[in-house]
Amino acid sequence: MNTDPNRSTAALPEALLTPALWDVVTRNNNRALRLTNELMQVHVTTSDGDEIHRYVVRPNESDYMWTNWYLQLTNFKDMYNQAEALNNNTYMAMGLICEVYVTSLITDTFGDVPYSEATQGKEGIYQPKFDKQQDIYLDLFRKLEQANTLLSTPTALTEVQMAVEPLFGKDINNANTNKTLASTLTTTAWRKFCNSLYLRLLLRVSARAEANSASKMAEIVSNPTKYPIFSNNAESAIIKYTTVVPYVSAFYNYRVFDFSGNNGISVFFANNLNTWGDPRRANWMTLYEGAYSGIPSGYSRGQVPERESAYNSALMNDPMLGNIINYPEVQFILAEASAKGYIGGDAKTFYENGVNSAITIWGQTVPINYLTNPALAWNSGATLDAMMEKIHLQKYYTMFFTDFQQWFEYRRTGHPNLPKGPGVENGGNMPSRLRYPVNVQSLNGANYSAAVAAFGPDDLNTKMWWNK
């Protein structure tokens, strides 16, 4: 009686992974287009009423990501629990890695957020308390350690599980007739994803001594057996979009106009690539009167420029847009860590690996003498700030359409150096975060108030723990 014939009362962990990860990445893409790419001058709207490029971010922008990140977090945590009941190390680890990935996005976007009590509505916690970002980060590191350990003794994936694993399994399964080997390759790929993500997050909080980032990064880099990380582009964690529903990109149903009609490539974005003669321009943008050219961001109200180059419409279905974290980004992370002395190795090598692989990952060939261009060439004698600018300008392009990473890194480092147009508001300050969603104030009021009291005012300019 009253049993739902449309739904199921039990779920295997592998059943939960694909829809949840797909949801997170496609929604990240969606907001990368709407928020990150406007704030970070990838493109500029030609609709005067959209003012994100002027640093006007209305409160209603917050709800979309908050809601969807947390809803999928429920699936990732459930996946861990279901796997734990089955003693399946591999899916426990996958659940942890995905949980860390999504939680880091939440806290880096908002600051202090519900964590320890989050996603327990089913257990009756409707109003979870907010946790300090520091506590969240330290616990995320613990979870990544745990995931890495679990994957050191992975549970072998069945062929059926391989076939529906969205990040690596499908491709590896198709490429390898030896299914035991295929399983090992897949679990290893997840382990590399785990530790690469670990590096990203360690670097993010590296300004805080209590995070102990430098020594941990050094430990990871010096012990690749225990902490394997991405070693080439093919190992990157990318959801590969297809044109077969539902395995499609965030923009599959967009008309070209919705994608690029009012979005003109910015001067900043176009001109750097022009200076470098960068081949990725062909992937990313259209020609305008025979050239790649952009329009200024932060223009004054009423002074709307006419769109020049726009996004290449092929991008809408480009498999590369499903990027979570890729090999070149890891190389730039290592370059910065090396330049700052956190780890050994040569920053130049990491940097150049990053630059080259960031081009080849888009299927392009690195032009001859590309790295000898003074605008690109690594100068080991330069100031740290100059090195940072060089690394982060490259990293900026590497994280094209990758959720909010460009914005997070800009907030952390101030790089790359973005021009500011005459129309920018908010005191000319890049927003430091998004406000908490408006409905959290009524739906979780007491905890919201406590969080604001501890964390700082709920406006765009309150700093994170990691860049306070």
Binding site: M1, D4, E14, T74, A118, G121, V160, V245, R301, N439
Partner: protein, 1077 residues
């Protein structure tokens, strides 16, 4: 007596005359009425046959159902549907023709074969009007403690509409139709006495001949796409309610409050619309009625388009160029009209012959009718024939109706065939078996897509610029690329409207059977049992196809849905009535019901095709995606009604009902499924006992108190389960948390009423005041998503509706020469108040528009509109920056989307064979957001965007100074396009929100009925020819098309508040011919 607005049906009284509750709804009136006629034959006396026709003295209309009795009040017969009778009686019998609401006429019959024409005069005091109440029980109106409004067939068919429910507008105080306006099917949502349900389920129950259809054939199934830029576009496929043939409806009884509907139990909490279809009447031979109706629909209202400036984006007002020419870069692809003025100059423009830039510069012209020319005159042909007849042993009626509709958009419309059968047979003196069955097939090759999206026509129409000729779009394929590439000479965003109309099809084929079989056994004169089984089934196959090169589906699309709705009800009613102590009468009714509702919707999708123009699943490029959905729930009930009256002036009803609802059960427990609720209603006809002033001819007071519980009609919310997803072998945690402890919601209502008639009933006033509170609604209460879920299913909230309803009827003029005038009016006022939500929850979002939300906030009303507005200075002036209006950052209250005040005024003039009816109605006090207005204003298409072109404009408002003070704005906004965009950008919900007040000239009809003398010459019994008009004029400030609208959502729901690419409204002119043979 007024005919248009009376709360009366022309029904016979029961054989027992005074007994109140003998008339069982399931027993056709006439079979009871004539039951003793056959027994009356007295062989020793000479028999004579008398026949005749009974007419209303005032208008000469036939009076069906008048009863013929003798001096001993024995029923001898009744008049047929065409007012005729023929009886055999002993010579010298004195017969009396009686009819409720009319003075009886008596004749003594001595001549065999005598033919009579009897004209009955309406009585001044129609105290014995019979109305249909819950469960189809017929009651004397004066005995009721709650208001019932009855709408007769004539009122419904006066100015025929494709959806008969449109004809309820203006005839029932407190009734609110929310219209989808979504094309020819034109689904309406019927709300009585305001919305009370936070989950949007405030619709009235719809009961057809005892078959509850609202949750089965009356259910709307959406396409899964919303109205605003969704994956696909919704189409209005209609539902079983709109497809009832109005000619088959005898009358509609509107039960507005829980006291009236308490016997319907959980589903009657929002009031009920009780539809009784026609039955056969006792008569000699067979009555044949032919009805032919032809109507045309023409667009009645347009936005205020400008035709002074042509195509061009901001800053493109100095020249025009189709593609790049000697004059400059191309300006052809914008949908804006900020371009150059039509000033006699010439430019290189589109040449329809070469399909590219003209060889020479052509005169720069506007095509002022380019939008209108896309549409056509709609037409509807409705033809029906009905046969009816009956005897003392039973009766039957059969009708067949065909409807053909072509709507105002080319290649849209539908056909509908209906067969209705009503039979009743008296097998013995004690047993009557009857059945009513209605079969409908509705078929359409194409119903228009609605909303604001590529495949909707209105998206294209708003995108048209003044210098486009619609004829340039008629060849909708590019030459040589038929089926592959559409012709889009201007913006590539806009799908060609002829491609939309001819290739982007939404088809539907629905078969529906609604009917019941019942048996009534009269154990004693005052003890009867009725058992009934009723079924409502509909099966619909829908398909959507989109051709190659459409914006949303570049390689085509084909989808289909099979939708099965079923509800089966089995019930019984046991009735007993008697009297005691001379003046007391009572009746007791016991009943029980078992209901099972099923719903299956299976969808298949091929969202990319291999070859163009082949719409089969075999042509799918990818594996076909299947989306199954099914549900089932049931309710069992027992109920009782007790009625007590004293001396024909004091009346009391008591009802009690207990329901057991499966939707409250969990997979393992049925602890919460049972709930009980009672009602009491009192009525006192004071004028019977208290001496009134002379001018008061009748005074009745009524009061009622009722409770209704409901287990909701949404199953499966009591147990946690994973949702399927489209990904292979995958599941997802649900967005909501199930609740194993769900309780029923409760509604309590109080109602007080007054029915007073003055000046010998020349002026009648009926007033009702009500207050109803709904508690413990079963809602998906929103959660902070950090809990891992969007919502939890809980019982929560208190919503209060209180209001006043007035109905006025009068007969100011009536003279001896046969001229008469009736007037009638309604007025209603409803106040909705959100008293409580859950815990700290202060707002509940009911629907979301393109921008803005409709919310229920504690302390506010359901349907309050919130959205961004202008940034304003402390004294309320618009803040400008650089000459442009600034948009504020916080949402604000902008009004309520439900008009609290509604009223109507009508009149009926009669002179001999002619009659004229007119009806006006209006609504006041509500607002709505208009996307059409926003887009047209942003794109410079409205005349309001003309000022300032070429010269700039200074906005009326202030600027914020550096020191925080404000001073008047003096900056000229040089870019006029951006100036208007800064005002009317769609994010500015405030500037695009307008009053939905209107007054409509709703109905007009002129009838000419042939007199009996003329009829007898041509050998027919009845002939009426009528000319009518519907929705003739709209008086409103609404800037788009029609302030009376709703918008179809993804689930098929119709929401008020956000106008999203509405269709133009139409006015209808029709010709109606009715012949009775």
């Amino acid at each position: 007596m007024n005919k248009i607005f009376t709360q009366r049906i022309k029904a016979v009284r029961c054989a027992t005359g005074l007994a109140l509750f003998v008339c069982l709804s399931q027993v056709p009136q006439t079979s009871l009425a004539i039951s003793t006629a056959a027994l009356y034959q007295q062989p020793l006396q000479e028999s004579v046959t008398v026949s005749g026709v009974v007419l209303d003295d005032a208008d000469g209309q036939f009076l069906p159902g008048a009863t013929i009795i003798d001096a001993q009040r024995k029923v001898l017969g009744a008049t047929s549907g065409t007012g005729t009778f023929s009886i055999k009686i002993p010579k010298g019998t004195s017969i009396t023709i009686t009819m409720i609401g009319y003075a009886p006429v008596t004749r003594t019959i001595n001549t065999d074969g005598e033919k009579l024409t009897l004209r009955l005069k309406a009585t001044e005091n129609a105290l014995s009007e019979v109305v249909v109440t819950a469960l189809g029980i017929k009651r004397e109106e004066k005995s009721l403690g709650y208001a019932v409004s009855t709408v007769t067939n004539k009122e419904l068919t006066n100015a025929m509409s494709n959806n008969w429910t449109n004809a309820l507008t203006g005839k029932v105080a407190g009734l609110n139709l929310v219209k989808s306006g979504g094309g020819p099917a034109g689904t309406n949502k019927i709300i009585l006495r305001g919305e009370n349900s936070l989950d949007g389920n405030s619709e009235a129950l719809v009961v057809i001949d005892g078959v509850i259809t609202s949750s089965s054939s009356g259910r709307n199934t959406g396409t899964g796409s919303g109205a605003y830029l969704s994956g696909d576009s919704p189409a209005d496929f209609g539902n079983g309610l709109s497809d009832i043939n109005p000619d088959d409806i005898e009358n509609v009884s509107v039960l507005k409050g829980p006291a009236a509907t308490a016997l319907y139990g959980s589903r009657g909490g929002n009031g009920a619309i009780i539809i009784t279809t026609k039955s056969g009447t006792s008569r000699k031979g067979i009555g044949v009625t032919i009805n032919s109706n032809t109507s045309v629909d023409m667009i009645s209202r347009w936005p205020d388009y400008q035709n002074e400036f042509g195509q061009g984006d901001q800053g493109q007002d100095l020249y025009y160029s189709y593609l790049t020419t000697a004059d400059g870069a191309s300006t052809r692809s914008t949908s804006s009209a900020w371009g150059p003025k039509f000033d006699g100059q010439s430019y290189f423009q589109y040449d329809p012959l070469t399909r590219t830039t003209s060889a020479t510069r052509l005169p720069w012209l506007a095509y002022p009718d380019n939008r209108k020319d896309f549409f056509q005159t709609g037409n509807t042909f409705l033809n029906s024939i009905s046969l009816d007849g009956g005897s003392d042993k039973g009766n039957a009626r059969l009708s067949i109706t065909n409807l053909q509709n072509n709507w105002i958009i080319p290649n849209t419309g539908y056909t509908r065939n209906t067969v209705a059968l009503s039979v009743s047979s008296k097998l013995t003196d004690k047993l009557v078996i009857s059945s009513k069955v209605n079969y409908t097939n509705k078929k359409s090759d194409n119903l228009p897509s609605t909303g604001y999206n590529n495949q909707s026509i209105m998206y294209f129409i708003r995108g048209m610029v003044p210098n486009m000729d619609i004829n340039w779009f008629k060849d909708y394929w590019l030459p040589g690329q038929e089926g592959i590439a559409q012709s889009r000479p201007f913006s590539s965003l806009l799908d060609n409207p002829y491609l939309i109309a001819n290739e982007m099809l939404n088809s539907s084929d629905r078969n529906q059977v609604t009917g019941n079989v019942s048996a009534t056994y009269n154990f004693l004169k005052n003890l009867s049992l009725m058992v009934r089984s009723s079924v409502d089934l509909s099966y619909e196959t829908r398909a959507q196809q989109r051709p190659f090169s459409s914006n949303k589906f570049a390689t085509g699309m084909y989808r289909s849905q099979n939708i099965y709705n079923q509800e089966i009800n089995n019930d019984f009613l046991l009735k007993y009535d008697n009297k005691f102590l001379d003046k007391f009468e009572y009746s007791v009714t016991l009943g029980g019901n078992n209901m099972v509702n099923r719903y299956i919707r299976d969808e298949l999708r091929a969202d990319q095709l291999l070859y163009p123009d082949i719409y089969t699943f075999a042509n799918s490029r990818n594996p076909v995606v299947a989306i199954p959905n099914r549900s089932k729930y049931s309710v069992n009930s027992f109920y009782a009604l007790g009625s007590l009256s004293y001396d024909n002036f004091l009346y009391m009803d008591l009802t009690a009902r207990n329901d057991w609802a499966s939707t409250l059960a969990t997979p393992t427990s049925s602890d919460n499924i049972s709930f009980f609720y009672p009602s009491i209603a009192l009525s006192a006809v004071l004028s019977e006992k208290i001496k009134m002033p002379d001018f008061v001819s009748f005074l009745k007071l009524r009061a009622s108190l009722a409770g209704v519980g409901s287990g909701s009609t949404i199953p499966y919310r009591t147990a946690y389960a994973y949702d399927p997803t489209l990904f292979q072998s995958s599941l997802s945690n649900p967005g909501f948390i199930a609740n194993s402890g769900l309780k029923p919601l409760r509604t309590t209502s109080k109602e007080f009423g007054l029915d007073v008639r003055f000046f010998k009933s020349r002026l009648n006033l009926d007033v009702s005041y009500y207050k109803s509170n709904t508690y413990d609604q079963i809602i998906n209460s929103p959660l902070d998503p950090a809990s891992g879920y969007s919502s939890v299913v809980i019982n929560a909230g208190e919503i209060q509706n209180s209001g006043l309803e007035l109905q006025l009827t009068g007969k100011p003029l009536q003279n001896a020469k046969g001229f008469s005038m009736d007037v009638f009016g309604t007025f209603s006022l409803n106040r909705n108040k959100v008293i409580e939500l859950e815990g700290d929850l202060t707002t509940y979002i009911m629907s979301t528009g393109p921008r803005g939300t409709v919310e229920a906030r504690v302390g506010g009303s359901m349907g309050d509109l919130y959205g961004l507005g202008y940034e304003r200075s402390p004294d309320g002036q618009i803040v400008y920056q650089d000459g442009y209006a600034k948009l504020g950052t916080n949402t604000q209250y902008l009004g309520n989307t439900t008009s609290p005040y509604k009223g109507s005024l009508g009149a009926n003039f009669r002179y001999k064979a002619f009659s004229l009816n007119v009806l006006f109605d209006g609504q006041f006090g509500g607002v709505a957001y208009s996307l059409t207005h926003s887009v047209l204003a942003e794109e410079g298409k409205l005349t309001k965007t003309l000022p300032g072109r070429y010269n700039g404009i200074i906005g009326d408002g202030v600027v914020l100074n550096a020191d925080g003070s404000y001073s008047p704005n003096t900056v000229v906004a040089a870019n006029t396009a951006n100036y208007y965009k800064s005002h009317f950008v769609r994010d500015n919900v405030e500037s695009n929100t307008f009053s939905t007040n209107y007054i409509k000239f709703r109905e007009a009809r002129v009838d000419f009925s042939l007199t009996p003398k003329m009829l007898s010459k041509i050998g027919v019994q009845r002939a009426t020819i009528g000319v009518y008009g519907r929705d003739l004029l709209i008086f409103t400030d609404w800037p788009s098309f029609d302030p009376e609208f709703g918008t179809i959502g993804a689930g098929g729901e119709i929401a008020a508040g956000f106008e999203v690419g509405q269709f133009p409204p139409t006015r209808t002119f029709g010709l109606n011919l009715t012949i009775g043979i």
